[in-house]
Amino acid sequence: MSLLKVNELGITFGGLRANWDISFEVAEGELLGLIGPNGAGKSTLFNCISGFYAPTAGKIYFRGRDVTGFRPFEMARLGLARTFQVYVATGDLNVLEYVMVGSFMKTSSRLKAKAKAEGLLENMNLTGLAQERVANLPVAAQKRVVMAAALATDPELLLLDEVAAGLNPSEIDQMINVIRWVHSELKITVFLIEHVMELVMKLSHRVLALDSGLLIAEGEPAKIVLNPEVIKAYLGERYVAQHSGRGGERA
């Protein structure tokens, strides 16, 4: 049985079709990527799945259960955690406290919450920052903190929204290792949006491509980057027309 199933999902804002007729499944244990140009509707899709937007059409199933229209905290309690593309911290929580908020989802004991948070911080190389205010950290560290908090809820499925954006190459390598660790050691299914193709290509088993709210392609990472529909979405129709001959030769 698939962990997540999305069936003919659609959402419109006024007259804008942000997502249209999207159907796919995420299998348990999979590492799935989602790519697409800016404005393709990737984050909107994540927001629908995690309950931040109520879809105007279609259904979402989590572990076979219809969860369409569930609210974010309900999705979290069912086992779906997520991170956010942009993080604005305004409070005074420190890193340890922030991750503890996540562990408090499953326990009301402060000691247990703390022990779990400290374990996660150690595994994610954040122990040294435990007492720092999250708002004072650089972007890369903030993203890892938010990810650690999401992991502290013990999810089955983790949605990562552009965790590598704004990171330098060595930070990207670190992030790749963290995601690998989440997937293989914590046995969490990962579904990630990413513009950094290096990360997508190295990690994903399978990639979905979205353009103008529509699912245009789906397949292995090596094949999806050669898909004419995907190239067209990123580089435009004219580029594909000019280069289609050479592509044929190479094949």
């Binding site: 931040f52 974010p72 905290f73 955690a81 305004t90 922030y98 908020v101 989802m105 009301s108 999250v134």
Partner: protein
Amino acid sequence: MEILNRAVDFSDFPKIDLYVAAAVGVFLLVFPALPHSGFTMATMIQFLMFSVYGMGWNTIGGYGGQVDLGKAQYVGIGAYTTAVMMVRWDVPFWVSLPIGMALAVGWSFVIGYPLFRLKGHYFAIATIATSLVLKDVFESWSFIGAARGLKIPIKGEMPNFLYLQFRQDYYYYYIILAFFFIGLFYINWFRHSRIGYQLRSIKDNEDIARSLGIDAHWAKIRTYAVATAFVAAVGSFHACYNFNIEPEDVMGLDLSILIALMAMLGGAGSLFGPIIGAAILVPMKNYLGAWFGATAGLVGLDLIIYSFIIMLIAALEPRGIWGMITRLRTGRRN
């Protein structure tokens, strides 16, 4: 037992803070034995009352970041419950106190449910509006004395612990001091409890909080109820201490703003902030207010000063005096 341990666990504060806090605690305990005037005693009682008001406000307003400018309506419910029950049915203070708190908390759910759908300034304005509407209702409700208010008659011999009627102020002082310590230990527990953490994460970023399994709306309503219980308890005390309550005194906008201001000046979202705020503003209000009003004939100047303080906090240090102290400390480290 774990709850009690956590209520007295102050280990995250630097030693120096704890020495200062202990010294202040001892001073508060022995204050009535020191030489003092009646006016000083009244100021001290008010300081303790406003500290507890501020502690209550600090749960939702400080840790939760929801600026609530309508706390006076719950002071009014507490005060009126105690007064009405005493005047009409001879009910002792200790019976009407929990009833007043329960009624106020019940009303806070009615108000909180729709209001917490609003955010930021809209929420703040809505709390003012509901508080003023309830005040108007009380002012025209003849059963509870309408705009003239209620006067609690003397019940038998003094000192009367059942009805909280004393000739000497130090009895009132020690009762409100007990409230103060209970409140302080409760907040110390609260700030490290699950709901405390959840609330702070809502203040930090509500979307992330929701994605971490927190029902933000319900968490706010629950905390609002806690804040309400605090102010309603002090409201009940206020009725007995003053013998005389009117809607204008216990439900006015001034009171709501003062409650919020004390906590914000001292440091919203910190344990000692509301106490620091009350320690500065209450004496200022009493001494300056008396001086401006009586000597200088400048009634209302104190209100201008409050507004000025609000602007200063907003512009310089949103975390108030406690925030400045923290900044000085961490600044030295860097």
